[in-house]
Symmetry: C2
Subunit: 216 residues, 2 copies
Amino acid sequence: MAPNSASRQSRSEVPEVVINRLPQYVRILNRLLDDGTQVVSSQQLGEKLQVTPAQIRKDLSYFGRFGKQGRGYSVRDLLDRLRQILGINSPWNVAVVGVGRLGRAILSYPGFNPDGFRLVAAFDLSSKVVGETVGGLVVQNMDELDQVVGREKISIAIVAVPVEYTQNVVDQLVACGVRAILNYAPITPQVREGIRIRNIDPVLSLQSMTYYINDE
Amino acid sequence: MAPNSASRQSRSEVPEVVINRLPQYVRILNRLLDDGTQVVSSQQLGEKLQVTPAQIRKDLSYFGRFGKQGRGYSVRDLLDRLRQILGINSPWNVAVVGVGRLGRAILSYPGFNPDGFRLVAAFDLSSKVVGETVGGLVVQNMDELDQVVGREKISIAIVAVPVEYTQNVVDQLVACGVRAILNYAPITPQVREGIRIRNIDPVLSLQSMTYYINDE
């Protein structure tokens, strides 16, 4: 138990939709800090995030008291606290599995490192790709997975393999001790309790927008 | 107004989180249909989607009555109805803007077409890429955007340009009549009311998982 656990609700009591919004708060606060802004109101935060100020106050209330009534939030304090809550105040080592077209795009994406996600290993199922250097990493064989995950203290993996291999790769990653997986295949792999998985799927995103633009 | 509008709640009354779940229902139902399953219970659907049966029933209740008490849902009927609600019972034409590494991965992704999203045009800001054929499409100049969007009846665009160009590209798309945008850059572009935008951002996804694997 963290020493401050009494001052906030337990992990399972905070709705996942709230957790999913916190990274966006962090992003906005980072930008405000870069601009030299020291204090921000829930009104201003709400405008930037397209949610109501009441929603902002409710979201933050899960984690204790922030700011003073009528005086807004200290950008620096709120940012530090949210980064601590999210566990992104220190960096995470990440493996990428699948070095096809998408995997290459991921390995060359410059956005991970500044936000504390270090891509430290790349794996592929095909011997044609193994040994190639992509994004500064030598692509490794899946046989090396267990050893590399342990040695590099990798807790997170990004999976960009074809759909028919995805569940198997996810199982292997979990067996090696990986605890969070970001999956780019258009399926929902099964994982045991305690393992986090998020699926990035452009089709699901498109399908939830057509509802709004249909018949309008 | 659609003729059946009286039998369901208006668009704005259905929470967005519910809409965002419907495409996953569609996916599961498609798979059940492929497997020859004709009837499914909210219990079974809930197991596959990792939500409670009560949640399933509540989600569907926004759109009228489905199935009969204690007899489950007809897979075919529910699927047809959800596809109609989501507006994915007929295909949509989609443009891709940005043919870098990620854009190429998107253009070669086989998952759009079977789900009714036809990639019909590709654009890039760089004259080095314009004229190249990628995924069966000749990459076009942004000057052609207005004409092509009109001619091809494009309502949806996928934007995969560097972050510093994103807002400008989004503005151009909206000005040409595009009404839904899927953005891959790690920013939240501003759009006027009535335009839908979804941002795919791997870092936000990673940051919402670290909360759960931190300190455990």
